[in-house]
Structures are given as C-alpha cells and as structure tokens.
Subunit: 540 residues, 2 copies
C-alpha cells in the first residue's frame, strides 16, 4: 500500500520572487493550466491584496482539478484575526485552501516583528483558528523553522504546535534562508514528528542556497513529511525554491520513492514534463538551461567518445532513465541515425510522409545543423521547419518573392510641439504570375503616439496587396514576437520568433535570424505568410 | 583535530564534456592558475594523447602548488600495461599523479568492453601496479560503481579491491550516470569502508542528473570518503559534475563540515570565489547563472517586500551567510512588492542618501508602480532606476535633449542583383548649453550584408557628436539587448533592456518601453548614456 505525497506548487507566488520575473495575470492563468495538466495537488496563486496582479488573478480563479491556494501572513499583533485587513483580503479571495506564513524563530519575532514570543504564538493560533472557523483548509508556513529550531528548539516547537492544535491541516517546515543541509533537515523533521505532529500533517519548503533543495526535500520525505512545496524550473527568491521539475520524476521513477509513495502526477503527464518546463521559459522569455536535470537539452547529450559509442550498443550504459519518459531526447553527436528517425517523426506530425533512408532526410539534417549553427532554432518554430522540409522534398510552391522593402521609424515634434513617433513601410512583391505590387503603410495616428513600430508597419504593408493570395491571408494576425540575441558563428545575431493566429483557430510559430532585428522579423513574417498559404491550399 | 579533505578538480577534463565547451590550451592554463589560486589539491588537466589540446597542455605543465593529474583508462585486454600505447601516452605526460578510469559494473564489462570479468579485474590490477612501479601517485576512478554495486555487489567490490590491493592511493567511487541519490551513496560508501578500504583512501565523483550531486558528495564525506571530485560552476557531461563552487563554501562554512574537516582553501581564497566563477564564464563566453548558489548575482537579492525590510534591520534575517565571505554582494532590487525601506537601501547602494520618511520616497514609489504598470521593469535595470530616483530628488542634470531621430532599414538589390540590407540613422540633439548637433550614420558595408540593424545605427549616430560629453562616452559599448512583449495597461508594448559596458569595467542595465521596438530601444539607450555621464561626473 503506497502512501500519498502531496505536491504544492508555489511558482506563482514564491516563483514570482525570482529577480527579473513579473507575471501578468494572463501569464498566471496559463501557468496554472500548465500545472494542472501536470497533476500537482496545490497551486499557490499569490497573495490577494498584496498587488494588483495577484488580486486580479484571485478575482477569477481558474477552474482546475488542483486546489488553488491563497497565500498571506498570520494576523498582526494588537488586533483580532477578524479585524486584520491584510488577512481579510486573503480570505476574501474565497479559496478553499489558505496558506499563512508566520514566525517560528525567536530572533525574527524579536528583530523583524518587535513583539513578544507569547504574542506571536497567539497570532499563529488565532489566525489558524479563524481559517478553520471559516471552513477553509488551513496551511501554516513555519518561516525560518530550521534556523529557529537550532536557536530555540522549545519556542520553534511551541509555534508549530500552536498552529497544529488550532486545527492546521498542514504545518509546512520552511528553510527560508536555504542554509540548512539535508542531514539536518532529516534530523529535525524526525524530532518534530517525535514531538507529536504526525508526518501526514507535515510539509517541507526548501530553498536552493546551498544547491541542496531537492536533496533536502527528499530527506524530509524520508523522515516522514508528506507535502513538498516547490516551483517549476526551480524559480524563486535568491537561488530559487526546490525544483519540482526535478523532484517529480525522481519521486515517480527512483527508489525508495517509486515503490513507497504515489503522487497526483501520472506517467502520461510526466511525458509532458520537458514541454511544461519549456513553456514556462517561453512565457518568461528565458533561455532554457541546457544542463537542467531530466528536461535540459543536454540532459541526455553524450559528448565523450567512449560514452557515445557505448550508447549506440545500449542506451542504458550512460543514461539513468529513458529520456522519452520525461518527453526529452537523446543527443549523440557522433551518429545521425537517431537524428533521421526523429526527423521522420516530426515530418509525419506535419503530414509529410518520407520513406526511411530517403536522401532528402540526410540533406535536411545537414541543412538544419548548418542553420542552427547560424542561430536558427526550430524547436520553437515548427512552421518554419515544415517550410524548410517541404522545400527540400520539393513540396513548396513559389508563391511570391519580396523585391525590396524599406521601413522608417521617426521621432519628431508635431505641430503642437509634442514628441510623436511615426513608422512607415513600403514593400514591393513579385508574384509568381509575373505581376508586381507595391504597398505603402504609414501609421494613422501620429499625434497619439500609438505607433506600433517597424515590424508592425512591415506586416501591414506586406499583407495589403498580395494579389491572388490576398483573400487567403486576410485573417492572419501577428500575436506575439520574441527576440533573443544569440551567437551565429562568430557574430552576435538576433533571432526572432513570431507567433501568428487566424480565424480558424490555427496558431503557428516561425523564425528569422539576422544581425538586423527588422530583417530577422521580416524573414519570420514571410514564413508565417507562406505557411498560412500552404494551409489554405494556395498554388504557386 | 580536524581531518583533511582533498579537493580534486576535473574542470579541464570532465568539464570539457559540457555541450558547447571546447577549451584551448591557453584557456586551460588560465583556468589551472585560477584553480591553484583558489587552493584545490588536484587539477586534472585532461587525457594526454586523446586530443591535440590535452597533449599540448601536458607538454608544458603549469607550475602550481596543486598537483596536476593526467587522466586515462586502464590498460586494454590482450596486452601488458607496459605495451598499451594509450596508457603509455598518459604516463609519458610525466605527472606525479595519474588517474585511470576502469569498469566496475559487470554489465559494462560485458556490453561495452566485451571481455570477461576476470580479464577486467586483471586490467585494473596490472594498470595500478604499473603506475606504482613507475613511482606515481595512483588514482583509480571506479566507473559506474554505484550502479555496479547495486547490480553485482561482489564484483563491484572485487574490482575496487583489485585497485586498492595493487597499491592505489585513491579509489574514487563514481556515479557516472548521475542517477544515484544521496541516501544510497552514503549507504554504499559505508559498505565499501566496511569491506576493508579505509575512508582515507576513498574519493567520490558525482554527476548532477538528479540535481543532487552536491548532496551526494556531502553524503559520501559524512560516510567517510576523504576526496571530492568536481568542477567549477558544475561544468561537465550532460547535467554536469558536482559543483565545487558550491561545495567549497559549504565545507568551509557549514556544520558539521566546518568543525570536522579542513581543506586547502583559505578564507582569503574563498573571498575570490565569485570572481573565479565569473572568470570561468568569461573564458567560456557564457552568461553567468544568476541563481547560482553563493556566487550568483541573485544569490543575495531580496525581492520580497517583507524580506527587504527585515534585511535593513539585520541582514542575518534572510541570509544564510554574509555574501562578502565569498566575494558576493547583497542586492535589494526594485519591484512592485518593494516598500520604502527597500527603496532607501537601494538608493544608498547608488550613493544617494535620503532620509527615512522623506516625501521623495513616497513619490518615487508611486512613479515606479505607475511605470511598472506601463510595462517597465526596474529590478533588471538598476541604472534606469537610479536615474529615475536622481530625477525625483533633484540630483539629475539635464545633459541634453533629443530633438528628433529617424532610422531606416531597407532591403534592396544592389548593382549585382544581390539582396542586401542597409540601415541608416539621423539623430538631432539639443545640448544643455543651447547648441544643437545632428549626426548621420549609414552602415558601411551594404554589399556584405553586415548591417547590424536600426538599434545599432541609432547607437552609433547618438554617440557620434555629443559636444562636451563626447569624450566621456567614448568607451561606452552596447553589449546585449533583451526584448519582450508585455502588457502596458491594455495594449501590448515592447520592453527593451540594454546592457552596456565601458573600459573601466562598469556594466549597467537600462530599460525602455514603447509599442515601437525602435523607440523602446532608443529610450533604454538614452538612459545608458545618461547613467554613464553621471558616473563620469558630467555636469548639465
């Protein structure tokens, strides 16, 4: 009989403390959906009332299988739980689960709060009791618990027992400063259980300041804790939180965990792990960490010659798990054998059947390799990959050629002396029928500073008059574009990925690379239009 | 009486297996010097004979306090140790210490080598005996030891005892595939010691495939091992090796290690840890990992408002060590979760003293909040934050105003009919003295398609003639720019963050926001120039 472990994700709350990370409400919703698909048990959405984004998220909580938890802090001294407006804002979010952080380290009660230990204990007790009186699931985040336990064991235990006795459903032991090593965590969790709080009520919340947050979480589980708090991709304050992207596959695949425990994550969901990790990076416009365990692009890359040749005999020689289990892929630089079968699978996904061993496969692999060394990335630009493949296997019509384009952005003073910004673009296109069209676009609202820039101006001009194809692209919309500086050979180049949409609900991504950001954007844009024309069945 | 732990660095050998890493001989020498300054005991320089770079490195071994070790593999079956040319090349490097890797997992002996277990044992014995006969310090890397022990305990022990009995100075237990968790490592190291190889002769070599390489190394030390193998910044095959950049401060600063063990790293050398980590990234042209434990730019960054205010009262409230010990710095970045205390701290760091409760603080917080809702982000753009603050407290000179600018990017056919891309920019600036300058820039190489785009063209034009300020910005360089689409109120806007550098070693980041990417870039660029002028002491 396996025991249940509960996964509590705090990407949307503690993960937001990552330097440079600032989620919008829409991004929070997308991430919540992603987490729910993965199968975590709890999604901590943020702190209602602390900032407009978090409040907006809770104003319309997404419908998920996972429980969405609101985060806040225990009531302040000198007022009742009922009359604390900060606590009230958290409860007013109306979530079934509420997690409140409170002090358990005597030093912090004194230094940060400036109240007595008794007052602090009472704040914890009254806050948890208030949650329970309101019929909520109550989680208590015991801040600085491990440091507190080492400094004043009796008080740290008194504080967590106050929460437990008041009816807390979970007491979460937090290593807030991230300095506690796994051995100590195991020992102290054991002592908390010995003091009378059962492991079924204990959670663990680790930070990665000593690069042991994953190991610390596992140590706590082995000592008896049953809830793990962490974040996707290890986002979080300072060095980040315990990385659920690593913990999830370890708990599902590795002993002694796999046979002792179960989680809400299925093996099917696990095969989407790499994708979830990449989607989060995409949302944050972060470069994915190649060396990330399980999901990184290098996690199953075998560079050493001895390793690579053994891998060809039997992949288990140098792999601790089958990469497919987490949706990842093996990379063996020495052989393009694996490459060709991967490629055929991808082409099939695009509806292009190519025979095993066809010469086009080898050529296409070479082209992709060459282009990737120039800075292209086809992982996130499936539509451009399809166009490249079509072109190589002779299935790409010549719809049109761009003869020239010119785009201007100008900031100047208008008649009223205000600084305004204006963009205009001219695009000349030679159609496959021999005809030529020239379109000019200038933004219409120069005084209101609504100019959407050179890329938008080019997109409008390009889609103004495409002759026989015009009707087919009338519902094409440019919805997002991502820019990254990368290395193309020896020079820095700009890679632009453009996301497009149409009224039929299609969404597709294309890539362009150039030292000139406008030119890279234009290339991605041309691919977007061409892919759309292929879908519409246009003929060259 | 403390026991001695030995640090064995393999950055130059296993670290070279990192995807995308390829050291030159000169780089290897620089890294070896760096490692020696840090105080590691061993520097594994590579595999003499395996490739030209490694052979060249050993042809002239740098003079270091640390022992430089040559790496190789045990002799092959069917020939004597004396007659194995691969082994001979390793010995011919002439190093006092030699580390040979050999199989200890029965499956690998069979699958990868295709020889009998007895032959493999004899290869290990004879190779180690040969090293000792030549008067070398002999290290044996027991490949796949933990997987081997779990699959065939008796054979794994037989293999390492063959090395030990033949006189190996160190038997290094390797978790080659990185799948073994710390608990298992502790247990198995304990069993090896119980089998008769003393801990003083045992080393540990972990990989990070489950994100527990640091914890696994610590677990081995607690179980009795006395040598740790790892790499700087956790470089290495797949997910990397155990990260010495993390292990070193943990061993020196954290219990139970600090009082039980000593290493060759002094506290003085430890204060150069962050610098060493950055130098390695510089050599590899890698972006330093912000979240890296101890040495990352975010490792002591306090974003949460509650944390930031407590840090001002006492830094130990949210820091597990004093950042200065490892040469790092505290950062209290701006974000919409920051309070006034956070703000004051940040201003102090910029040399701006503002009294507690000063009205400017409240105004500045409001402005930042308002700007963040428009899409600005100040925690990744501290220079822009400083300018904003200076302006609000009346310490920002009016250096110049941009009267207008215009930038064109054009793709057209040149005289030879090739498609080329050209950018040009005009910038008109009104200087504070009343003078006005106009600069024009066009890329010089239209036929070679070397155009670096509109942002670069504007940067060149802007920095062509800034009158009295021209000299001060002559060493300003735009080194990186990051773009993302974000929500500014109801409209999508573009946020550009520009990183700049100068010859004095300054590096600073500025932000611009606009629906027009060129305009956003220009705004960030203006901030970059203005910040530089403030540093140079320019007057308005």
């Amino acid at each position: 009989m396996k025991q249940r472990l509960y996964l509590y994700d705090t990407t949307l709350r503690d993960g937001q403390q990552t330097q440079g990370v600032q989620f919008s409400t829409g991004e929070k919703r997308r991430i919540a959906e992603m987490l729910d698909r993965l199968g975590v048990d709890y999604i901590e959405g943020g702190w209602p009332g602390a900032n407009p984004t978090d409040s907006e998220f809770f104003a319309e909580v997404p419908e998920t299988r996972a429980r969405v938890a609101a985060f806040g802090m225990t009531k302040r001294a000198g007022r009742s739980a009922e009359n604390d407006d900060v606590l009230a804002a958290v409860l007013n979010a109306g979530t079934g689960s509420v997690c409140l952080v409170g002090k358990t380290h005597d030093f912090h009660v004194d230094t940060a709060l400036g109240i007595s230990l008794e007052e602090n204990t009472e704040n914890i007790r009254a806050s948890v009791a208030h949650l329970k009186a309101q019929g909520r699931e109550a989680l208590f985040d015991a801040e600085h618990f491990f440091d507190g336990f080492k400094a004043n064991r009796d008080y740290a235990l008194e504080a967590v027992h106050a929460a437990y006795d008041a009816g807390a459903d979970w007491v979460v032991l937090c290593d807030t400063n991230g300095g506690t090593l796994p051995g100590e965590i195991a020992e102290i969790v054991g002592e908390v259980i010995a003091s009378g709080i059962p492991g079924e009520k204990l959670g663990i919340h680790c930070h990665n300041d000593t690069e042991t947050a994953v190991a610390g979480s596992l140590a706590a589980v082995e000592a008896g804790a049953r809830q793990i708090q962490g974040t996707l991709n290890g986002l979080g304050e300072r060095c980040g939180n315990a990385n659920l992207t690593t913990l999830i596959p370890t708990l599902l695949l590795k002993e002694p965990y796999a046979s002792r425990y179960e989680t809400g994550v299925s093996l099917e969901a696990l095969s989407g792990l790499r994708r979830a990790s990449r989607q989060l990076d995409d949302i944050l416009n972060r470069v994915p960490m190649r060396q990330a365990p399980y999901v990184g692009a290098s996690a199953f890359a075998h560079k050493a010659g001895l390793h690579a040749s053994a891998i060809l005999k039997d992949p288990t020689t140098y792999e601790h798990i089958d990469p497919a289990i987490v949706g990842n892929e093996r990379i063996v630089p020495m052989s393009n054998q694996a490459g060709q079968s991967n490629l055929r699978r991808r082409l099939e996904d695009a509806g292009l059947e190519v025979e095993k061993g066809a010469p086009a496969l080898g050529r296409l692999l070479e082209i992709i390799k060459e282009r990737e060394s120039q800075g292209y990335a086809y992982d996130g630009a499936q539509a451009s990959f399809e166009l490249l493949a079509r072109s190589e296997i002779g299935l790409m019509p010549d719809f049109f050629e761009v003869e020239r384009y010119r785009v201007i952005s100008e900031r100047r003073r208008n008649a009223k002396g205000e600084l305004v910004i204006v963009s205009e673009a001219v695009v000349t296109v030679a159609l496959s029928g021999g005809e030529q069209t020239t379109s000019f676009y200038q933004n219409q609202n120069p005084t209101e500073q609504q100019d959407a820039g050179p890329v938008n101006a080019l997109a409008v001009a390009l889609s103004m008059d495409l002759g026989p194809y015009q009707e087919m692209i009338s519902d094409w919309r440019l919805v997002d574009f991502k820019v990254r500086i990368t290395n193309g050979g020896t020079e820095a180049v700009t890679r632009v990925i453009i996301d497009s949409e149409d009224d039929k609900g299609r969404r597709w991504s294309t890539v362009g690379v150039s030292a000139n950001i406008v030119d890279a954007s234009f290339e991605a844009m041309l691919d977007a239009v061409r892919w759309k024309l292929v879908q519409e069945g246009a003929r060259g």
